[in-house]
């Protein structure tokens, strides 16, 4: 089916005639002919929109304690709350509407994961570039720290961080950042080392540019693409890690549950037939991570020159 992609690329006349493709065209090229990836992309868009507009969509503000009533606790899906609000997906033990809680939980989960991955990756990229550029003891210190970090199981490290700093959304983000930067640093260093051997870097050096300038102007843009490819995978990993930490009770505050904490709340009731408390947040979590992973897979395949054009 996607043979036309190959045709376009090998037709020198067409290629020469065409102007540089726009971002939208490039983007479309990645997903065209890949319905699963496209569905994932649509899914991500929907989840992000739901998260952004949660306060407008949700029937209840589950973080506003004045709107909750334990007398509404454990209502099955399709019930009504004390103030007449319909509860489509039921309530948890404290009278939180599950639909509202899931929408708000999605917000927290996405926010935590995005901030942690973006900040973590930025630190990782900087460290990786620095190690490649400077070499010597700087590289040794950075890379041994990376090795040390990689030798710890991620969740254990995050648990240790939270045990020291206490719990809260900001602390969870810090814990995830500490977990995120090392693999990015290693990746970027590897790419940067091979870039450093190229002529344009020699040229820049001969032109008398400083290390910092070479790093910022040349090395950074040329080494960043592999990180961009793994970024979605890191985000889904961070969503999972946040959910795990919250499930274990060391993550977000209990009055502002994320998806993981909602699942943990329902876990106590799963054997007594109150299935809706865990199932719905669980389904949303699975669906979101699945969407991101499908898209991430597609991006990775596209970035791989051996696979490009074959699929």
């Amino acid at each position: 089916m996607p043979t036309d992609v190959t045709t376009v690329e090998v037709d020198p006349v067409a290629a020469a005639d065409k102007a540089e493709p726009t971002f939208a065209e490039k983007f479309w090229k990645v997903f065209r002919g890949h319905p699963a990836a496209l569905a994932g992309l649509i899914g991500i868009t929907v989840f992000v929109l739901l998260a952004i507009f949660a306060p407008l969509i949700a029937p209840q503000d589950p973080y506003d304690q004045t709107q909750l009533d334990i007398l509404d606790g454990l209502l099955p899906p399709g019930s009504q709350l004390w103030d007449g609000t319909p509860s489509l997906l039921g309530t948890d033990a404290l009278g939180r509407d599950i639909l509202s809680a899931v929408l708000y939980g999605l917000r927290i989960s996405l926010f935590v994961a995005l901030v942690a991955v973006i900040v973590g990756s930025a630190i990782g990229v900087f460290m990786g570039l620095l190690a490649a550029m400077k070499g010597g003891w700087v590289e040794t210190v950075i890379m041994r720290t990376v090795d040390l970090k990689m030798s710890f199981p991620g969740i254990l490290l995050a648990l240790m961080v939270l045990a020291i700093f206490g719990t809260g959304i900001d602390k969870v983000i810090i814990a995830l950042i500490i977990g995120a930067w090392a693999s990015e640093a290693r990746l970027v260093r590897a790419v940067a080392l091979s870039e450093l051997k190229k002529e344009y870097v020699d040229a820049a050096r001969l032109a008398g540019l400083s290390d910092w300038r070479i790093m910022g102007r040349f090395l950074f843009p040329n080494s960043i693409s592999p990180v961009l490819v793994v970024l979605p995978m890191s985000i889904s990993g961070a969503i999972g890690a946040e959910a795990t930490l919250s499930f274990l009770g060391v993550g977000v505050p209990i009055t502002e549950p994320s998806l993981g904490l909602l699942i943990a709340n329902g876990n106590d009731y799963i054997l007594s037939g109150k299935w809706w408390i865990s199932i719905f947040p669980g389904l949303v979590l699975v669906a979101m991570v699945l969407c991101i992973n499908v898209v991430a897979d597609r991006l990775r395949d596209h970035a791989n020159p051996y696979l490009r054009g074959k699929d």
């Binding site: 506003d64 304690q65 004045t66 334990i70 033990a93 007594s272």
Partner: protein, 530 residues
């Protein structure tokens, strides 16, 4: 076909809990006993285990146990008559000498480790064997609480230590002319684990396992079970799974959520007993302000009685007991369980959110104020959920509540360092209705043992007068009168807000009867066959 048979077999195994031997009772505790050494360790699991083997002069419910009776011969002198004809597991007879030996052991510090009563026996100046079955405790000041404290003094045979012949002379260091006492290891190996109790220790393991066998010569009649096995499983789900699989006959503390499932199961059931543990909020009423409590005008809201009344009226206790505990909690109307001996009769505490708002407005907090509300996340049954429900109710009358649930280890440290202005706490103590208020709300008085944990910074003269009078009153009725006076003042002043009294729940085979204890302890003596 083979598979069907296997499934049928499995179903049968689940449906008919197998019994290892008809007379063995297998119990699963929710946390592990620390030791079988009855002196240094407090805590419910340790006490649960030790009371199978060792007994004290007074039972937890204030009735005589190894004592037959006691009388105050003067305000500073208590004479205790021992029961006749009681023998230890090694065959020796119980005499006054054994009581003095045990008191000496209580005061003797092994490796500097304090024992249960080390600080409570300060007023005891001498212990005298009047005759073989009469012991007299002499004190330097009136100390009526000693009757309660004797519940913690497990009686060992003097033959267990390296004791010279003849009478033992008591001293406050526990030296008493005794060359050596059995060590913790001696108890845990079983060599020194010799008491008068209904069961003898066969084996103890630090993982929380213990095997016991019947003491056929028990003075109270032959025990129900030939053997008792105690195991510890911390995870509630795994504990219940063990019961369902027939590995246990009885388990401690199933979760509230599991109760409907137990009710629906023909083979299993549960027994819930109102316990002595009351759960309440503690408020720092210091007029200079409290940590984590702030008002827009910089005042100290919790110092205003109207604010405390409003907080109490904002909370729907019935809803908490009904919804979060499935009815297995009793709504509190004072700081000790209302059903406890010595607790006064008091009316129910009102739930009236409208009046609460009006009171806050009257006190100048129409726009509310902010509190950091701390609750331990892993200590009390449904604790985190109750804290969230309280947060809901306080928020609804306009108070901004930042709920902070923390593991007990973190919480307890902050409480000790007085960093908590508002916190949730539970108090369950075998020692009478006044124990909690005397520690938590009285002004500090080390001689009378008052106010040691007054984190409320509460001070009220009428309350203090009643507590001081209670602390030295040897007449039970009069003492209860003083408890009632103090309790009424405290409930009016609300340096804390009573919430509910916990029920202790045991899940067990349907063919067993559990006559559960109010002090949360699990004992084979309370379990019998139908």
């Amino acid at each position: 076909m083979k598979r069907t048979l296997t499934i049928l077999g499995l179903a049968a195994a689940v449906a008919l809990p197998s019994v290892a031997s008809a007379e063995t009772l297998r119990m699963a505790f929710s946390s592990a006993p620390q030791s079988i050494d009855p002196y240094p360790f407090g805590g419910t699991p340790t006490a649960s285990l030790k009371e199978h083997v060792f007994e004290a002069l007074v039972a937890a419910d204030d009735s005589p146990l190894l004592a037959e009776s006691w009388a105050w011969t003067s305000p500073t002198s208590l004479e205790v008559k021992l029961r006749q004809g009681i023998t230890f597991h090694d065959g020796g007879a119980l005499t006054a000498r054994d009581v003095i030996y045990s008191a000496c052991r209580m005061m003797y510090l092994i490796d500097g480790k304090r024992n249960l009563l080390t600080s409570s026996m300060g007023p005891i100046t001498d212990i005298v064997a009047v005759d073989d079955h009469t012991v007299r405790f002499d004190m330097n000041a009136p100390y009526p609480l000693w009757v309660q404290k004797m519940k913690f003094l497990s009686i060992l045979p003097a033959s267990g230590g390296d004791v010279p012949e003849g009478p033992i002379a008591y001293d406050a260091e526990g030296n008493c002319g005794i060359a050596s006492y059995p060590s913790r290891a001696d108890f845990e190996s079983g060599d020194a684990a010799i008491g008068t109790g209904p069961y003898k220790l066969v084996r103890f393991d630090k993982s929380g396992e213990a095997d016991l066998e019947k003491n056929p010569d028990y003075w109270g009649g032959a025990p129900e079970w030939d053997e008792v096995q105690i195991r510890t499983i911390g995870n509630a789900g795994a504990r219940l799974a063990g019961l369902l699989a027939g590995d246990f006959d009885l388990i401690e503390n199933p979760t509230t959520e599991d109760l409907p499932g137990l009710e629906a199961n023909d083979e299993l059931t549960y027994t819930a007993i109102p316990s002595w543990r009351s759960i309440f909020l503690l408020l720092d009423v210091n007029p200079e302000g409290a940590p984590g409590v702030s008002a827009a005008d910089g005042s100290a809201p919790l110092a205003d009685i109207r604010v405390r009344q409003a907080m109490s009226m904002a909370i729907n206790r019935d809803a908490i007991a009904e919804r979060l505990f499935g009815g297995e909690a009793t709504v509190a109307n004072q700081f000790a369980p209302s059903y406890r001996t010595g607790a006064p009769e008091l009316p129910a505490l009102a739930y009236d959110p409208e009046k609460a708002k009006a009171l806050l407005e009257e006190a100048g907090y129409a726009d509310g104020f902010t509190i950091d509300f701390y609750a331990p996340s892993d200590r009390y049954a449904n604790g985190a959920r109750v804290a969230q429900a309280v947060t809901q109710y306080l928020s609804r009358v306009g108070i901004t509540v930042n709920l902070k649930t923390e593991p007990w280890s973190v919480f307890a440290g902050k409480r000790r360092d007085k960093e908590l202005g508002v916190f949730m706490y539970g108090w369950g103590h075998p020692q009478g209705a006044a124990q909690m208020i005397s520690f938590a709300f009285a002004s500090r008085d080390n001689d009378l043992g008052l106010g040691a944990s007054n984190y409320s910074n509460y001070q009220n003269d009428a309350f203090d007068a009643a507590m001081k009078a209670w602390a030295v009153e040897t007449d039970d009725d009069k003492a209860n009168e003083f408890v009632g006076q103090a309790m009424r003042v405290a409930v009016e002043d609300l340096p804390g807000i009573p919430l509910y009294y916990q029920h202790t729940i045991w899940a067990h085979r349907a063919d067993l009867v559990v006559n559960g204890r109010q002090d949360e302890r699990t004992s084979a003596t309370t379990v019998s066959r139908k």
